[in-house]
Amino acid sequence: MRLFAAGLLLALASAAQAVQEIAPASAGVTSADQKIGFEGARHLLNRAGFGASDSEIRALAPLDRAEAVDRLLAGTRREASLAPPAFVEAAFVPYYRVRQMNAEDRMLALRTRLQQAFELRAWWLHEMAVTPSPLTERMTLFWHNHFATSQQKVRSVPLMYRQNVLLRREALGSFRTLLHAIAKDPAMLVYLDNAGSRREAPNENFAREVMELFTLGESHYGERDVKDAARAFTGWSLDRDTGEFVYRRVWHDHGEKTVLGRTGRLDGAEVLDILLAHPRTAEFVVTKLWREFVSPTPDRAEVARLAAVFRDARYEVKPLLKALFTSGAFWAEAHRASLIKSPVDLVVGTLRTFGIEPMDFRPAAFAVAALGQSLLQPPNVKGWPGGESWIDSSTLLGRRQWIDRVFRGAEAMNASASAQEPMAAPAPREAMRRTLERGMRTYAFEAERWSRGVEHGLADRRAHVTSLVLAMAPANPVPGGDDEESLVRALVADPVYQLR
């Protein structure tokens, strides 16, 4: 506890120092104990959550940085606020049984699975849109991307749900606990092939990725380490009928192994502890968090400082995030609007910022998939690469099209048959298409209702609305006049709306 406090003091001290270093470059920066104001609160909420409404921002504006961050971290949840779809409690159907079915039943099982995956995605997006704890969902998504696992290979939506519950429980909990739990997580055991790994022929997939993508990062281990770690994880398997973790003693290689210079009759848990003891692990995770929350270009000295905070806190996530969110770099002018919104940021952020309350979240699940972020189905074990790669000519046009539909209001909703179909999903039947379109109508932006919720009596309302919608000044000229609806349409169509 004292260590933890000391780490925090150290963190605050160097944060103050970092502010001093950054301050000369950008005059208007407030120092750490001043009120963060509307712009600051908007920045914090948009980075730590998904968009934010005018009233949410105003509630944080009178606080200073530490107060605002404390409030953000104090109220975080470890469970979803919405009840999950009923099917997640249904009995686990092992894939080998599906393989034994006749063609017709197999097709039915496949359809059911795709349908359930779709509903689970919609449920998660719904949670992101309504949760009182958006930081929990952002971190759950961060860990989903870090420990990327795809239902396409896992082929069981209940297992994907169980993993999602784990990621949420430890989202702001302990990385140590999470790493140990994910190594035994049934969906992960299937996804990285460890479930069938036995001493006669260890499967290297999990052993390699746990080093490269979950802890150390590339070039901090050798092929020998992979091979021996793979032997240590042999026998970490699944009960094929219940889908629960099971340790198969006879499959385990009990011999001596050497991983990162440590030799012994290592088992999987000991290998994970070796990885956690390596200083690179904290740096690797912090670097990723920097890209998520601060800027696309991690600062080495700051990463090293934050990594020390993370290790001193025994891999507890909250103290690390507190240090990150109170760092000078997080608040630096130069880093505002430096991150490209993910499809989830764009879609959920738009709903939260503009108070849109859809009746059905399947169209949102459809949209984020079409824009390149099919939840529960990352492209590979490295997750979504993010950053500039979110935006290519195809996805940029898709984003514009989605925004166009939402902000042209109800009349546009009826007209367009969506051309956005995620490539991996089977062509939805006509009934599904109609359902999606009916659902999409409830995404229409209601300008008047929204305007009433935005603070009144301000001297420059246009400037206020602009700073609510955009993270920096718009790139294109916006129309003049009093029509707030056309102002909003111009702002969301601006390229800057793609930034956070």
Partner: protein, 384 residues
């Protein structure tokens, strides 16, 4: 002022299909850069079960369960045959327009998907980190003719790969018609010192330029296979049919990371590959572009020679690649997999540096000096 130009642009878009084809007439006559089509076999295709060394006794020894049955192999030479799912490639082989390049790899191989494809995409050394894709460097160094619709088009998504980074006019699209429909929402104005914003503005500009020059109305007699890869092939053919040039098109067949249950999965994937390449050839012949096009496969790595315990294969090193086109010299190139000379990890030595594979495409197909792009001298092979 800028409002006016936007209005002018929207006006141009409303007549886009016509404007596009009319504007092209002038530049269509002689595209000076021939078309290259790259097919990524993502996940690391198992080359040993694609082009099968069926006569090598080590093959059956290393793969007691996974070896393709000798009777099933489509025999091309006394030692080498194709996976039975690739039967549609046989006519191309027989017409001597299918080159099989064996043993493609690089020194100090990296067995991570991500690092190894990065090495392939940037044509770097194993321990070198380069920013831009190798094709981006080609275009930065030697731009395509001004009238081209784009330097490169990535079909589908999944990253820009060899076209990543600044210096190339590259776009990604899944469906050309939808792309043209949506292009009306782009603006393509302005500059920014914010790197993220600058990226978005650059993408907008590339969209506009391409949209003004592309069309997608060609009706093919060729039948394209169903499925995602078949759709990608159809899109590729549609793009190749454009009068406004495109220098390179990249499409992807994903799913080759067969650590488990390889047999059924690879069989399905190779079926899609063989049928897709065969349809692509027919389409290119139909539009008169077979002789000015080269199609070449690539992947991050091959797979381990010895099968694993879960009916699959782990990450490996050297791999076989396929090249086809009207000017391709068919036959076997490179060197047969040395199954008797596996390294300490059980991996194959390479015979052809992947940069020599690229150098062949650059020098023999595009007449570009490979050295300027690849950062070293790599002698081209004779497959073109």
């Amino acid at each position: 002022m800028r409002t006016t130009s936007r209005r002018a642009f929207l006006a141009a878009c409303s007549v886009l299909p016509f404007a596009g084809s009319a504007a092209l007439a002038g530049v269509a006559a002689s595209p000076t850069r021939k078309l290259l089509i790259l097919v990524e076999l993502k996940g690391g295709n198992d080359g040993l079960n694609t082009v099968v060394p069926y006569a090598d006794p080590n093959y059956a020894r290393l793969r007691p369960r996974l070896a393709i049955d000798r009777d099933q192999v489509i025999k091309l030479t006394p030692g080498v045959g194709l996976h039975p799912s690739l039967e549609k490639l046989v006519p191309i082989w027989e017409s001597k327009r299918l080159a099989i390049v064996q043993g493609v790899g690089y020194p100090d191989p990296n067995l991570s998907h991500f690092r190894s494809i990065e090495i392939w995409d940037t044509a770097s050394k194993s321990d070198e980190y380069l920013e831009a894709g190798w094709l981006t460097r080609v275009f930065a160094h030697s731009p395509s003719p001004a009238g081209f619709a784009a330097d490169g088009v990535v079909v589908g998504s999944g990253g820009m790969g060899p076209l990543a980074g600044r210096g190339a006019r590259a776009i990604a699209l899944a469906n050309p018609e939808q792309f043209l429909r949506n292009a009306r929402l782009a603006r393509g104005e302005g500059e920014s010192r914010n790197a993220a914003l600058a990226h978005i503005l650059r993408v907008e500009r590339d969209v506009l330029v391409s949209a003004q020059r592309l069309h997608a109305q060609k009706t093919f007699a060729t039948a394209f296979p169903a499925g995602q890869f078949g759709n990608g092939v159809a899109t590729t053919a549609q793009l190749a049919a454009n009068a406004a040039g495109i220098a390179v098109i990249r499409l992807t067949l994903d799913g080759f990371d067969t650590h488990a249950y390889q047999q059924a999965r690879q069989q399905n994937l190779l079926r899609q590959l063989g049928d897709g390449l065969s349809a692509l050839r027919a389409a290119l012949i139909e539009i008169g572009r077979w002789d000015s096009t080269v199609v070449a496969t690539y992947a991050e790595f091959g797979r381990r020679a010895r099968e694993n315990h879960t009916g699959g294969t782990d990450h490996g090193t050297a791999n076989v690649h396929l090249v086809m086109g009207g000017t391709v010299r068919g036959g076997l190139h490179g060197a047969a997999p040395a199954l008797d000379r596996l390294d300490g990890e059980g991996n194959l030595p390479f015979a052809v540096d992947f940069r020599a594979y690229y150098a062949t495409l650059l020098e023999r197909h595009w007449h570009v000096r490979a050295r300027d792009v690849l950062g070293g001298q790599f002698a081209p092979l004779d497959f073109i």
